[in-house]
């Protein structure tokens, strides 16, 4: 019997050997993959030749010849397509960073509000979540841009706040800071205060571990971070002027103008993503076993300390990974900017630059590579953080 089984393994049924079968399957897959790639490449080559498109990245150094309404670095129509790429990328990063901060803030507030004992507040938070997460983001962006911001008055009839901040159809105009000589001391003081408070918090924690006595380190560092720069600012004679915008003709002169496109995109991205973050925060907090709270209270911890030291650290372990994926979604969703003409990477590079040069292959590849890199880097960092947080679990 045994012999016959062995023989069948050796001779007759090579096909029944799992490891051999795995080899065959992978070989077939490899061949199929190679065939598909070869077909795609050869088709693309012949198509490109037929249409007379030259490939390569040489176009990046050519003159772009179009201007962009919002540039964080020097950029003119004479700049190259490579600079177009940089400007677009920076604009994408700007709106993403603004969106991530605002969405996280609103999301946490709404998520905690959903668990409030106040019935009205909890229901209002629920209505917020259910409304905004069930409406397409693109629709929300268009809504803020075309239905709300485009309905604002012209520059001449701007809504003004104390004659310093103006809101009109061309955007939000705010005073621009003009640092005078000596202002750098204030920035150095701020940096010093941040570093000092970092060490202060560490010292307070060690001291508490050693002696059991607590220092109000949070308040102390807040006072340090706010107070020190302010004191330096006052002592050095207030070395900062503000350039207040003023109406000149049909538009405002001076100040910083926040484009309506940026404002609409920022609003929509923050509000939409916040509705998802709120749900993550709520389920994270609810996932902490109620016994944990009861145990903390019976040890005599105050509700505030219970929340800070017991509930939030455990909830964060669940919240952080999902929060990160929402932040990544926000960054990817910022590409919808192209629908309202905010000059982000997709709009100026995969849009205008692509139409001008016709280098579809290269430009789309670069654009996708940028988003892929951001995604992979962020998820890599998050995995590091996760590993650190998870170890604390026993």
């Amino acid at each position: 019997m045994w012999r016959s089984v062995q023989r069948s393994r050796e001779k007759g049924a090579l096909w029944r050997d799992p490891s051999f079968r795995a080899l065959v399957v992978q070989a077939v897959l490899l061949i199929a993959l190679a065939a598909v790639i070869f077909m795609l490449v050869s088709n693309t080559m012949s198509n490109l030749e037929e249409r007379g498109i030259t490939t390569g990245f040489g176009f990046l150094s050519e003159r772009a010849g179009f201007s962009i309404p919002q540039t964080l670095v020097d950029y003119t129509g004479n700049s190259s397509y490579a600079m177009t790429f940089v400007v677009g990328l920076l604009n994408t990063l700007l709106v993403s960073a603004m969106g991530v901060v605002a969405a996280t803030l609103i999301g946490f507030l709404v998520g905690i509000a959903r668990l409030s004992p106040n019935w009205l507040l909890a229901k209002a938070a629920m209505v917020y979540v259910e409304t905004f997460r069930n409406i397409p983001l693109l629709l929300q962006i268009l809504f803020w841009y075309f239905a709300v911001l485009q309905a604002l008055p012209s520059p001449r009839d701007s809504l003004s706040f104390f004659e310093t901040i103006f809101l009109n159809i061309r955007g939000l105009v705010v005073p621009a800071p003009l640092p005078q000589p000596g202002f750098s001391a204030v920035l150095w003081a701020l940096l010093l205060a941040v570093v000092a408070s970092f060490f202060l918090v560490r010292f307070a924690r060690r001291r508490q571990d050693r002696t059991g006595q607590r220092l109000p380190a949070g308040w102390l560092s807040l006072a340090l971070i706010v107070g020190l720069p302010l004191a330096v600012y006052a002592f050095s004679g207030f070395p900062l002027n503000w350039e207040v915008p003023a109406l000149a003709g049909f538009n405002f002169q001076g100040g910083i103008t926040i484009l309506p496109e940026l404002a609409a995109l920022w609003l929509a991205l923050s509000i939409y993503t916040a509705s998802f973050i709120a749900e993550i925060v709520r389920s994270g907090i609810q996932s902490v076993d109620h016994g944990q709270v009861e145990a903390a209270r019976s040890l005599g911890l105050t509700p505030g300390v219970t929340l800070r030291k017991i509930v939030i650290p455990q909830a964060m372990r669940l919240i952080i990974p999902q929060l990160t994926s929402q932040h990544l979604n926000l960054i990817k969703n910022s590409s919808l900017a192209t629908a309202i003409g905010y000059p982000d990477l997709v709009a100026v590079f995969a849009g205008t630059a692509l139409n001008q040069t016709g280098q579809a292959l290269e430009i789309i590849a670069i654009t996708m590579a940028v988003y892929l890199t951001i995604s992979l880097v962020v998820s890599f960092l998050m995995n590091l953080y996760n590993a650190r947080v998870q170890i604390k679990e026993r």
């Binding site: 399957v25 629709l139 809504f143």
Partner: protein, 372 residues
Amino acid sequence: MTTSSPSSETMSTPMIPQREPPDPRRGVTGWLRKNLFSSPLNSIVSLIMLAFAVLIVWPLLQWAIIQADWLGDTRQACTGEGACWVFISARLESIVYGFYPESEIWRVNIVFVMLAGLIAWLVLPRLPSKGWVALFALTGFPIIAFFLLAGGAFGLMPVSTRDWGGLMLTLTIAVVGIVGSLPIGILLALGRRSSMPLVRGVSVVFIEFWRGVPLITVLFMASVMLPLFVPSEIEFDKLLRALVGIMLFWSAYMAEVVRGGLQSIDKGQDEAGMSLGLGYWQRMGLIVLPQALKLVIPGIVNTFIALFKDTSLVLVIGLLDLLSIIQSGLTDPEWLGYAMEGYVFAALVYWVFCFSMSRYSQRVERKLHTGH
């Protein structure tokens, strides 16, 4: 001495039925006290929320319903202060059917009715043989719907996809995306858990690639680059190109959802199947997948919701779905200035679909929880 005893007299009067002690925690005032005014801070919050409701909800109601104009078919019908819903009703046909020829609209209606019937059958808990209906919804229905909508066979007049639009196009993209991405996603999820390194590697790269890029670049790629990838003799329909991109993109997300389900199935299930002598596909198809898929129905429905919302992105490549047909209506010189009405209506349509899907997924989730 025939005086009746006072005690017996008092006994004969009927007793007043017992009443519950007054409880400050019950009744309307009790509810208010507990939920709105339990502490000074809570009271302040409640008052702010009430003021907010009065300031926001009331003007909104006035705009949307009380002062709105509902009847008529030209701009002149809109005189009031409120919303002008005539803007929507005047172009309702194109919002629902796009530019589908008017004489052929019955074909779209049949598909709508079939779709509604299938969904109802799958969602209502009482109806039998859900498995077969689901199989039909994933295989037979798309074929029938394709021939009904596109025509060109069985004596039906061909209708170019350029004339498809509105809600009908949105639903078409959503259904094709769902029907296409689910099977591909399942295969990818199985591939990612395969013991064969090459299969696993290909699946991981495929999934992470699509999950790392925005859908909008995928759509750009589909509309600009797909024609370059195939022999130049093959003409690719614009809608088909978008559909290919959407399917590939969402199959990666679907794969991750399904993988979550596969991971939560005990390894013993698979091993038991092995010891019964079942092959890989038998074990997966008969033992592992039925359990895993059932577990992740909420996740799958959530992906459907995201897919449904993201069908609106086809606006950027120039397909006239629900949102983009309304968007293009806003630039109609005869109807300028009704952006608010257009967006609110579109939002309402999307919201109804997505909200009901999310309610369904929550219901399934609750049902699954009680099982254990």
